[in-house]
Symmetry: D3
Amino acid sequence: MPYVNIKITREGGTTAEQKAELIDGVTTLLARVLGKNPTTTVVVIDEVDLDNWGIGGLPVEAFRQQQRGGGK
Amino acid sequence: MPYVNIKITREGGTTAEQKAELIDGVTTLLARVLGKNPTTTVVVIDEVDLDNWGIGGLPVEAFRQQQRGGGK
Amino acid sequence: MPYVNIKITREGGTTAEQKAELIDGVTTLLARVLGKNPTTTVVVIDEVDLDNWGIGGLPVEAFRQQQRGGGK
Amino acid sequence: MPYVNIKITREGGTTAEQKAELIDGVTTLLARVLGKNPTTTVVVIDEVDLDNWGIGGLPVEAFRQQQRGGGK
Amino acid sequence: MPYVNIKITREGGTTAEQKAELIDGVTTLLARVLGKNPTTTVVVIDEVDLDNWGIGGLPVEAFRQQQRGGGK
Amino acid sequence: MPYVNIKITREGGTTAEQKAELIDGVTTLLARVLGKNPTTTVVVIDEVDLDNWGIGGLPVEAFRQQQRGGGK
């Protein structure tokens, strides 16, 4: 009965299909590695506005500019 | 001085009155069971889009269809 | 299928019975107010060391001393 | 590599500049006090609707009315 | 730069190797499905005492007894 | 009435004084930047075992070895 919270930045193109793939993937991972019961595994995805996410002391967009094209 | 976070799926009809009832109910519960001071009890309710909530390896709507009309 | 996280300070005497009462109480509250299904309601209680909990800009024990005997 | 989550009530005027100042401030604090590496310090700010935030057993606006002009 | 929090019940035998497998698995999943940069993906695993985890209105051990040998 | 959760790796030497400095620092920051009331600002610090913290797809100690002496 694990609980998983995935926080990602809200980018334009995250689709319902991709979210379903995350839910399935992490539930399967917990079943495979720890034998956790998929039926009671809960996954919650939070999409966070770019202004509200900081790394390296900067909002994420400023951080990316500083990194010149770094990853998502 | 407890902190309580309640995450629920965002369904159409959750009203401000219902949220107030949750806030009051959980604060009262902590005061009754553990003697916690209501004045410094904080409650935060997160409403999560259905696409972003998974259970049983599926997004919640697909899970409900699979369960044939299971609960909220 | 709500998820509830209750954070409380770790005081000497929180018993398994009190925790069970919190779990039952909050699950019942969500069923009564919002019709949420108890079967898939998950509750996680975190007990936090006093040094690790701050309020009013102070660790909780210093805050309580300042308040001269305020509540838990 | 700390992770910091700041939850505040969603009031009209929180600007991107203020959020950047929070991100910078908390990252600097962790570097100064604990020597944590700013490069891998992550900060996530959640803005919570007033209806969804409770204190003292009341939604925050009712609590503020009760306190007659208390702080944010 | 996702942040993932995995909460599981603290059972006797969760090894460092299994935790490493969870960290690797969820990081790889986010890179594959959403193109997220593994370098800045943070994963935090919380192991929660059985008394502190509730489902179906019961502490997890009482719930399992009720379910007669249900999953972890 | 903000709520702040600070998660750090559990290293040997985090003292109560350092935690008090974090609590004071973040509470002061929120008062200065957003005018938040210190009296109702709650800070919770979680110290996470090294095995339970991942970055870059690795547990933090393996990540640090890979980075050859990178920061905390």
